[in-house]
Subunit: 328 residues, 2 copies
DNA sequence: CTGAAAGCGCTTACAG
DNA sequence: CTGAAAGCGCTTACAG
């Protein structure tokens, strides 16, 4: 439209200050003038410029949410909860796909700094790299940030992380107690979060005196199926496989069935994240639930406190839980 | 930080105008002063306020993307492509979850109007309601908007829609040619897009002289499984079912198998959207591909032209394609 | 209860 | 090649 409060003021025969006051619901305005202004505001479909408002108030009422891949169900659920939570408080969320390279991720921090977001959320351990840390230190040293599933030693960044070491550790132990002895692990990407999962696997295997069987696959259901087929060719004695992500387990379990093996009789399968895929998969997938919901809720709460009180800092850790279905 | 170009100017011993010019890479600045300013800019980690800049330039360089449910894989893929495309052009995307009610959706249009987004994208036919149309007319009469899978008769809104009538119509015909005669349709939500799918079903059934078998289910894999079980109890002769969304088909096919029926021998299954679930499902799901990718690409291109030229208008229609897998 | 003025952080004619 | 000034659309002390 291009209407400003001056246009409204002129029409109403008052000053811009008065218009501003009725828009912001200040008290102490004569009822008659308030109503007159409100009427004109409504009739002309006036909408305040948040940019101008933000400039004087020194707040954008926007929060930035950085996600490494927005199409990842697990990440987008996190972003979703944040968005919903902060929209209720009057914040708009700028959700950005930060890409793969460290430089790209750091670049997005700068972009959000330019937008003067009131707070920043990092979703996913992929952000745990020096470039991002540095970008925050340089460009957002005083902006509250909360890191979902990662940690930075900066006073303005809080975190909520899943104890993935324990998640995988317990999964291995469970399989062991079920009598499995040839327990393999298949990993897709090399991220800090995945490294923690592997640590849990290694720790449990060592404690139990079992031989490690660790493998890497391409990041797709197909890639995982291929890697699994290779593994079962080489080590047909394998009687259990844990996957770093559910979707890998889903792709693989179909291939295992096609190879003529039974699940879970011949081979048990466990995924990670307890995503929608786990329930929809056939057979239904047992999975390590990293408790995303709790993680996201914790992030929202931390952020809210941090926006109020800039020196607020908190580190939360949630313990994953093994959800048993038909593949174990 | 709180650094402004005046701080930089003072340090560099130049005026703010000059600092602004080097930031914006204007030509005609003495090399030595440009370098001096650039050095200070870098050393002090200066970042321009996009809000202030936008205020004078009358452009926010933000685009608004409204999605009814961001967790919906189908919708988020669309939002993702937009975001990626426009980020390359220097736009930030405000992706918002617009909720279910018409009022809520219209409210989000107002929110984005206040943010003065340079363009708006509506993802999903759920936005096709009078409240949203009115909000656009009132609050964004001159902002380019593109409606993915919906149409408004407003001169500033373009659209890219899937011809869902034809998609379902062809699916029914295909089943008929395979010898199926008891073809049912199960629908979740009542959206304009779903109504078009049903129209296609009705049209084909009528043309083929078959009896309509239309059913509604709750919007979940479980709900669909329940509805399917009821249907098969009542009409055990059913030999094919089309679902309005893939995930419904996935939930249902597991239940059908559990009931002791064979897929596709006893009963053929077709989903809609050709989502990741279709490929990961076991058995792999045949699905009506609504060609989201093409739709999103079209939206991006339309929007780009519309941002350049405010009077640009375009309506694109893409024809769905049936992807055959193991359930037919 | 209301208005005039200054200022938020920029950009861009206009001079020189 | 560079600077002073005005202005983008608001809000908020400060007066009255």
């Amino acid at each position: 439209m291009g209407l400003t409060i001056y246009d409204i003021a002129k029409q109403a025969g008052v000053s811009a200050s008065t218009v501003s006051r009725v828009i912001n619901r200040h008290s102490g305005i004569k009822k008659s003038t308030r109503e007159k202004v409100e009427k004109i505001l409504a009739e002309s479909n006036f909408s305040v410029s948040e940019a101008a408002r933000g400039l004087v108030n020194q707040t954008s009422r926007m929060i930035g949410i950085l996600v490494s891949d927005i199409r990842n169900q697990h990440h987008i659920e996190g972003a979703y909860m944040m968005e919903q939570h902060f929209m209720k408080k009057g914040y708009c969320s700028i959700i950005l796909n930060a890409g793969d390279s460290d430089e790209s991720k750091a670049g997005y921090v700068r972009i959000l700094a330019s937008r003067r977001v009131d707070a920043l959320v990092l979703v996913g351990s992929a952000f745990q790299c020096e470039a991002v840390r540095q970008a925050i230190e340089d460009y957002m040293p005083d902006t509250p940030v909360v890191f979902q599933n990662g940690v930075f030693s900066l006073k303005n960044v809080s975190s909520a992380v899943a104890d993935e070491v324990s998640g995988t550790y317990e999964a291995v132990k469970y399989l062991y107690n079920q009598g499995r002895r040839q327990i393999a692990y298949i990993n897709n990407n090399d991220t800090p979060s995945n490294r923690k999962k592997i640590d849990g696997y290694d720790k449990a295997m060592e404690e139990l005196g079992l031989v490690r069987s660790f493998h890497v696959c391409e990041d797709s259901a197909e890639g995982s199926a291929d890697a699994t087929a290779r593994l079962l060719d080489q080590k047909p004695e394998t009687d259990a496989i844990i996957y770093s992500v559910d979707i890998l387990a889903v792709g693989a379990s179909r291939r295992i069935l096609d190879m003529g093996k039974r699940i879970p009789q011949d081979i048990a399968i466990i995924g990670t994240d307890n995503s929608p895929f786990a329930v929809l998969s056939n057979p239904r997938l047992s999975s390590i639930d990293t408790r995303l919901q709790e993680l996201s809720t914790a992030c929202s709460q931390i952020l809210e406190k941090a926006i109020e009180n800039p020196s607020y800092h908190e580190e939360v850790e949630v313990t994953p839980v093994l959800v048993l279905r038909e593949t174990t």
